[in-house]
Each structure stands twice: as C-alpha cells, then as structure tokens.
C-alpha cells in the first residue's frame, strides 16, 4: 500500500524528497473518505495537509521531531484542544476539549500529524465496537465481522491503511483484542507508564494508553515518545523511560512461560494450533519454554467487571447535563434533569455498567462484591509475581477466537464480557502486554498472540516480540 514499512523508512524517503508529505496526507484523507463504510473515524481533520506542509519544511531544514511526518489517528476518548471529544457517546456530542491530553501533546511535540479521532465503544466499554453513538465499526479484513473493541476504530484505521499508526486505550484488552482481530501490533503499557491526563476516565486504576501499528519498530518509537512521568497525573510512574527503539542484545536465553490455564476449554482449535506452532518454533531458537500456572485467571473476568463497573459508576457521575454538552429537555426540576439526561444521553451498555457498579458499591453488598474482587485482584497479581520470578515473559493467545460476526454477541452482555478472558488479567495486575499478529485462520481472519511482561518491563516485552516477529518473517 505504501512505499515504506515503518517510520524510519518514511522519514528517509521524505528527507530524500522521494515522498511528499503533503501528498501523503492528502492520500490518507482521500482514503478515509473512500472507506467511510468502515466507520473508523468520528472526526477527520482536513487541515492535516496544511500541518503536513509545515512539518515537511521542518524535515527539509533538518530540525524536526522524532515522529516528523508520522500520520496518527487518536481514539475519541483523548482530549485535543478545540477539537470534539465525544467518547462515542450522545451525552458528549457537542463537547469540545479545552486542553490537550499529555500523550497527544507529546506526539504533536515530536511533529506527528493527528489526522482525526477514531470511533470506539461508548466510554471505551465494549469488546466489539458495536456500542457507539456513531454506529458500529467494520473490520476491514472482512466487513461482516467486528474489528474488536473498544479501540475498534483505531485498529480498523491502521488495518485499512487510513493512517500510519494510531492511539488506543486498554482497560481490559481494548488495544490487544482489536489488534488481534485486525492483524496488527498493539501494545498496552504498564499502568502508570503513560500519563492519563486528558484521557476520559472509565476505570481509573485500570486505564492505559498505547499504540497500534504495522511494525514493532513504530510501536517502540511511539511508546518512547508518549511514556514518562507527568505532574498532571500523580499515578504516572516516576521511572526512567528507556529508548524502546534501540534494544540491547539479550545476554541470556529468553525464558517464556506458557500458562496451561490459557489453553483450555473455549479456545478455538485453529487459534490454539497456530499459537502452539509458534511455541514450537521458539523452542528451536534461543528461547526456553517453561510450563507455568496462573491458577486465578479463571476468576479474572468476574473480578474485573466488579471493579471496573464500580470505578465507572463513580467516574461517570460527572455527566449530569449541567456543565457539559447534552441536556434532556422539559425537566421539571434538577433531579429530573439529571435522571432524564443520563437516561437519554448514555447508551445501553454504559447504563448497564453504571447499574452494576452502583449495585456492587451499595450498602450491604460492598463486602460481598467489591472488597471480595479487590482481594481476588491481589491473588491474580500474586500469580504473575510468582510467574515472573521464573520467566521473562508469559505467552498466551490474545483472544479465544478470531473476529466474530457483527451482531453475534450484541444481545448477550455476559457472553461479550467472557470474550475478554485472556486480556483483563494484565490490567488487574498493571502489567504490559502486546498483541503480535501470527497468521490467519481458514476464513482468512487474523490470529493474535499475546505476550505479557512484569511491570515496567516493556523493553523485555518488545525484545521478545521482535524475536517472534523475526521467526515468523522467516516462514
């Protein structure tokens, strides 16, 4: 599709004037309008060509940022000053941001071009991108399938070559699962690695921001740029950010843990066989395969949906029809205004989660659900602590199946929640994870492999991912 495979190659072409950045930006804008049916974007920034002209000058002057000319789409849950921010919700349909999210600011500082804001599940709640006030996103690989969620638009935009890379958010798998469904690399950083300032809160102790791209090199580059402590987010980590692009050579044999709990019932045989094939290949190179156990993973979904709905019910209390955006008409009094606005403004899944969260936090049920789930969160974290005392990375499938059909799970909320079976544990434990595309099933749908590493060991994660990626390139 493009004459370059990653940003390094693009920048070389731009410098040698073999590629025009303004033409490149115009090309993407054209493709976005040609592929409107995919519904990947909520908003497209037509001024991208003018911005590209300025950055092109900077590139030719030799004084430019690390992402100069990279064309990036941003999930519509992140704030960009004076641009719409809707979270794909009716309740924020007229909202314009009054500041820019730190992660986006860092991209702009390094001369990336933000081409638009991508569709997603409303307030990032969903696993199929079917819960959006802007309508469902289609999977560009097969338009009868979902792209995954909640960052479905961000994944679809990269998979359909509507931009070079994109930014998504991951609270329980919302980057890794759509990356798997669309055949891309998608990285969820450690909790706290990337500032959440300017990210609309869903579940504050789970939310993370990360990149989608067609190459690992671009993933590493974007992660290097957006990571780091930010005084505007006190939960962002005061830990040095290594240059993720230049990885030091491994001194020791890579130890890869395979948890049997992730290969049991419910895993589609085609996905399972392909992941096992990759594990076999790893055995032939400088990796040691070790069987491990993460016995509490079977409780992850239950703990995850108790804790995240609780946090969400509190975070979403701010949408009251007073200070921003949508307000229902004809309310007799203030209470009426709140309840009508929230009824009309929120979609079905968001309301369901607010209800669940309110219930588990309510008097008499707090200990039975919320406190219990926090204890199980500790057990899940301890499982990983034990695992990472033995292995460098944990290898699993990203999703138990490839992209499912649009409408297939929409009417069964529990069934939809269960599709996150392999991804929520990383968010419960605050550890990084990445999806690596490893091939296709018989229907031609992408299969994804997940690697997880210990907290703040993104370097190890990327090294291991490169090892696998290189093995697959030799196939």
């Amino acid at each position: 599709m493009q004459s370059y495979n990653n940003h390094r190659e693009k920048l070389t072409l731009l410098k040698e004037k073999k590629l025009s950045l303004t033409e490149n930006a115009a090309f993407y804008l054209d493709r976005i309008s040609e592929h409107k049916d995919i519904n990947a974007f909520n908003f497209v920034f037509e001024d991208s060509v003018e911005i590209a002209a300025n950055i092109e000058k900077k590139i030719h002057s030799g004084n430019h940022g690390r992402l100069a000319g990279m064309i990036i789409a941003v999930k519509d849950v992140l704030a960009i000053k004076d641009k719409p921010l809707t979270c794909s919700s009716k309740i924020l349909r007229n909202f314009n941001s009054i500041f820019t999210a730190t992660a986006v600011e860092k991209l702009i500082q390094e001369d990336a071009i933000i081409i638009g804001k991508t569709n997603c599940d409303e307030f990032a709640m969903g696993s199929s991108n079917e819960n959006s006030a802007f309508g469902s996103v289609l999977n560009p690989i097969d338009k009868t399938k979902v792209p995954g969620g909640s960052s479905g638009g961000s994944a679809a935009a990269v998979a359909a070559y509507l931009c070079d890379a994109s930014i998504g958010t991951d609270t329980g798998g919302s980057i890794r699962q759509p990356a798997a469904f669309c055949g891309l690399f998608g990285l969820k950083p450690s909790y706290g690695r990337v500032s959440r300032y300017g990210l609309t809160a869903f579940a504050s102790s789970f939310d993370t921001i990360g990149p989608f791209a067609n190459s690992l090199e671009d993933i590493a580059l974007i992660l290097s740029v957006i990571s780091g402590f930010d005084e505007k987010d006190s939960t962002s980590a005061r830990i040095e950010v290594p240059d993720f692009v230049t990885q030091p050579d491994r001194e020791k044999k890579l130890k890869v843990g395979i948890p049997s709990e992730y290969f049991g019932d419910g895993l589609n045989p085609e996905v399972k066989n392909r992941v096992l094939e990759v594990i076999e290949k790893l055995k032939n190179v400088e990796a040691e395969i070790i069987d491990i156990h993460l016995p509490h993973n079977q409780f992850a979904i239950a703990a995850y949906y108790i804790l995240t709905t609780a946090e969400a019910s509190s975070n979403l209390a701010r949408y009251d029809g007073v200070r921003y955006s949508y307000r229902s008409k004809d309310s007799a009094n203030l209470n009426d205004l709140y309840t009508k606005t929230r009824h009309d403004g929120f979609g079905d899944e968001v309301k369901r989660r607010i209800m669940l969260g309110t219930y588990v936090l309510s008097s008499g049920y707090y200990d039975a659900y919320y406190l219990k789930a926090q204890k199980v969160r500790r057990l899940i974290k301890s499982d990983f602590d034990k695992a990472f005392s033995i292995v460098d990375v944990v290898l699993t499938p990203t999703s138990p199946f490839t992209a499912f059909s649009i409408g297939e799970k929409k009417d069964d909320p529990l069934e939809m929640y269960l599709s996150d079976i392999y991804t929520t544990s990383a968010n419960l434990a605050g550890i990084p994870g990445i999806n690596i595309p490893i091939g296709y099933d018989l229907k031609g749908l992408p299969i994804g492999l997940q690697l997880m590493a210990n907290q703040f060991e993104e370097q190890k994660l990327l090294q291991s991912a490169s090892l696998i990626d290189n093995l697959l390139k030799q196939e």
């Binding site: 009054i98 209800m355 926090q374 199980v376």
Partner: protein
C-alpha cells in the same frame, strides 16, 4: 435471584438514571445473569488476603504547593448546555410538593 425488580428501581435511583418499564425488566434479567456469574468468586477463600486497590504501589505523591492559574471561567462555561456569562443555568432546585 440476586436482584429483584424493586432492587433495580432502587439502584437506578441511586445512580440517577431514569429507566423505562421495559428497561427495568431487561436490566433485572441481565444483572441477575451477570451477578450469578460473579458469585464464582465465592469459590475462593480470601479470608487472609489483603485487598489490592491499585496495581502499582504509589503513596503520598507530593508537589510544591504553589498557586497556579486554572481553567478560565470562559473555558469552563464553553461546553455548558445553558449558561449566562457567569453561571451554569439549571431548573428549579427547590420544589414545593
């Protein structure tokens, strides 16, 4: 059943959500299915387990207590559905029965 129809009505009141009759029915069925699944956690003895509220240990993050500007009034009112130049406008708060 974990939650009754009356419970759902009460939770909606707490959550400041108006629900239509059919929505109360749907949520009662769906929440019951989900909560029954969540009862799975009771298989675990967690008597001696400390709860984990946050994945990364971080306590007492301090900063200098310096006075800085914040959001301007104009910016704060920009997205309001109804406002004057100074205030958000809301319907009557106190009503007489």
């Amino acid at each position: 059943m974990a939650v009754s129809r009356e419970d759902v009505i009460y939770i909606a009141k707490l959550a400041k959500l108006e629900l239509k009759e059919n929505e109360i029915d749907d949520y009662t069925i769906q929440m019951n299915r989900i909560l029954v699944y969540m009862d799975k956690l009771n298989e675990l003895d967690t008597e001696k387990v400390e709860p984990l509220s946050h994945p990364v240990p971080a306590v007492n993050i301090f900063r200098e207590d310096t006075v800085k500007g914040s959001v301007s009034r104009e910016d704060a009112l920009k997205n309001a559905p109804e406002s004057t130049e100074e205030f958000f406008i809301v319907p009557k708060i106190i009503t007489v029965e």
